[in-house]
């Protein structure tokens, strides 16, 4: 806990000499930790927690990914030799892993634009509405506050071969049905996640819309700009920081995908067409007992997300920084 170490000389750097200065020295030494040093004590549980449960495992993940790591009984000392990039080579040459990255690409291509477009449109409409405001907001947030496991049940019911959706579509219904069709499984999962998470992103956009001054719309209206002109020229640029955040968070959600494919498509079916990287991590790491390979996959996945986030920030961020 280097934060609390009171070593080092508090007076260094201060000009020496001068009676007034010398008189101040004892007071300063007493306040080396600041006027309210108890703040350190108040922060300590949080700092210790972050170091032990977040920072240490982060480094441990990288360590595991570079070693021949396997599960043992607790407190058994075994030799875990350093293997360099072996785990990375194993994981990147695995066709199932390659397929899972492709799947997540399909997911992001469908999910991110839909999320950004729909949540901005709906938030914009919600921001202007005066009647039934509460009802509409409530209805958009309900899927977000409900457990995925619960709503997955009803989607399984709706999207099965003889489910309500196919009944409505009649001859247009796809065979094999949505979630067991290798072309449609991942897009259906992406639609489900968009629907499930949209309320949260609408909330973010609503907060951002509050920051656009009314005067801008007023003057645009005076200049004869219609609603579309106002939307494209005032609203869209006005919420750009929120758009950066929404794309980033939607990407992270996609990269963390596990529950939905696990339950909707019975663990990434048909034939791995909807397996997500986190699902493969679970399978390789915990079911098949190769935590080292799974950790390497985690590192690759996170690097991928960071790269995508950087590109997105360039594209959406514009002149933000």
């Amino acid at each position: 806990m280097s934060l609390r170490s009171s070593s080092g000389n508090p007076v260094t750097g201060k000009p020496a000499g001068g009676t007034a200065d010398r008189r101040l020295v004892p007071r300063k030494r007493k306040n080396f930790l600041g006027p309210q040093p108890l703040g350190l004590l108040f922060s300590a549980p949080y700092v210790i927690y972050v170091l032990a449960v977040l920072a240490f495992p982060l480094g441990y993940a990288v360590y595991i990914s570079f070693h021949d790591f396997f599960f043992t009984a607790p407190r058994v000392k075994v030799d875990r030799p350093f293997v360099g990039f072996d785990n990375y080579i194993t994981v990147l040459s695995d066709p199932a892993v390659q397929r899972s990255f492709l799947n997540i690409g399909v997911f992001l291509i469908i999910n991110v634009p839909l999320t950004v477009g729909l949540s901005l449109l709906l938030a914009n409409a919600l921001n202007r509405i005066t009647r039934f405001k509460t009802f509409f907001r409530l209805s958009y947030y309900v899927p977000y506050v409900t457990a995925s496991v619960a709503v997955v049940g009803v989607w399984l019911f709706l999207f099965q071969q003889n489910g309500l959706l196919n009944t409505l579509l009649g001859p247009l219904a796809p065979t094999p049905s949505w979630l067991v069709n290798s072309w449609l499984a991942m897009p259906t999962v992406a639609l489900y996640v968009t629907w499930k998470q949209l309320g949260f992103f609408i909330l973010l956009y609503l907060a951002a819309l509050q920051n656009i001054p009314d005067e801008l719309y007023e003057s645009a209206a005076v200049d004869g700009g219609n609603k579309w002109v106002q939307f494209w020229n005032i609203t869209v640029p006005g919420v750009r920081p929120a758009s950066v955040l929404v794309t980033l968070l939607a990407t992270i959600t996609g990269a963390n995908l596990f529950t939905e494919p696990y339950l909707l498509t019975g663990g990434g079916g048909p034939d791995g067409a909807s397996a997500s990287p986190v699902f493969i991590m679970y399978q390789r790491g915990l079911l098949q007992g190769n935590p080292d390979v799974a950790a390497a996959l985690g590192v690759v996945l996170v690097i991928g997300v960071l790269l995508i986030a950087l590109i997105q920030k360039r594209l959406v961020g514009g002149k933000e920084d």
Binding site: F32, L38, S43, Y46, Y49, Y60, Y141, T146, L203, T259
Partner: protein, 310 residues
């Protein structure tokens, strides 16, 4: 607009900096009035959207009450001849619903407890106490929000389940979620809004920091506690992956985990699998939805949105 013209010209520059812009004057035919009134198109958009968002929940309830699954269009309407409570009995026989709800409650309650206690302490310290290393703690809080869970999954499993032997225990379930940095951020924002002179005065009067926090600061930020509880509740109540990895013993599983196991393993053998799944889904969804509707004001005030946005 002639009345406000002069004022507008003067205020134009700092309009964006003002915390709360004055209420715009609504007058028939003015630009603001037009903006506030929704076109029919937008209203239809919102209506269709609301239907798409709410229908699955309605269908969940209808489906959970059907004796035999009816996937025709008529199945979407209540049919007195096809209503039963048997699905709830059936799911309760496969997975103990009460036990599952209790486990979910303990897990969620533990997470909220740690988040609020430690979050208030560090939030108050960051906002109203000057101490060495405050900047480091603040920077840490911002960084933590960017740590991806995919990276932590394997090492946390190795540490918590293998090394510490906390599998099938509530502590093992709670630990990775115990302090939510978003909640810390919410607390800090609320404490920052309080005037620091208030705390200076209390310090001069000789009150200890803990006493100031307990008797002055916390009573003033009750809404922050509500916000943090709501924000934190959704996470563990709906969380699946981590408790699924940690608990193998059914009597300790939160409802989300036991219902998921029912969906993927047992449902096929049930007489009316969808009815049973949907009945379980209703039981799992009900507490969160009820809490949300009860506290909708706090959700809708966009407080949560702006605090998450940072």
């Amino acid at each position: 607009m002639s009345v406000t013209n002069a004022q507008n010209a003067k205020n134009d520059d700092d309009a964006s900096r003002r915390p709360e812009p004055p209420e715009p004057v609504l007058r028939p035919g003015s630009g603001v009035e037009k903006r506030r009134n929704l076109g029919v198109g937008s209203f239809i958009l919102l209506g269709v959207g609301a239907f798409v968002f709410l229908f699955p929940f309605y269908y969940m309830l209808i489906g959970s009450l059907q004796t035999a699954p009816d996937t025709s269009i008529f199945g979407a309407f209540p049919n007195p001849a096809n209503i039963t409570g048997a699905n709830y009995v059936q799911i309760n026989e496969s997975i103990n619903l009460f036990r599952g709800l209790l486990n979910s409650g303990i897990f969620t309650g533990g997470v909220i407890f740690f988040t609020v206690i430690f979050g208030l302490l560090v939030g108050y310290a960051l906002a109203q106490m000057k101490f060495r290393g405050r900047g480091v703690v603040f920077g840490m809080m911002l960084l933590v929000q960017m740590i991806p869970f995919q990276l932590l999954l394997i090492p946390l499993y190795v540490m918590i389940v293998r090394d510490y032997g906390l599998a099938d225990s509530f502590l093992g379930m709670i630990l990775p979620f115990a302090i939510n940095s978003t909640a810390v951020f919410v607390f800090r924002q609320y404490f920052l809004q309080l005037p620091s002179t208030l705390f200076e005065a209390a310090r001069i009067d000789g009150a200890s920091e803990l006493r100031i926090l307990w008797q002055i600061a916390i009573p003033l930020v009750r809404p922050a506690i509500v916000t943090a509880v709501l924000l934190t509740f959704i996470g563990p109540w709906n969380e699946f992956l981590w408790p699924f990895l940690v608990t193998k013993e059914q009597s300790l599983q939160p409802l989300a985990v036991s219902l998921a196991n029912f969906i993927s393993n047992i449902a096929g053998q049930a007489g009316n699998p969808f009815g049973a799944i949907l009945a379980g889904a209703c039981v799992l969804a009900a507490p969160a939805v009820a809490l949300f509707i009860f506290f909708q004001r706090q959700f809708i005030s966009t407080n949560i949105g702006s605090s998450v946005k940072g």
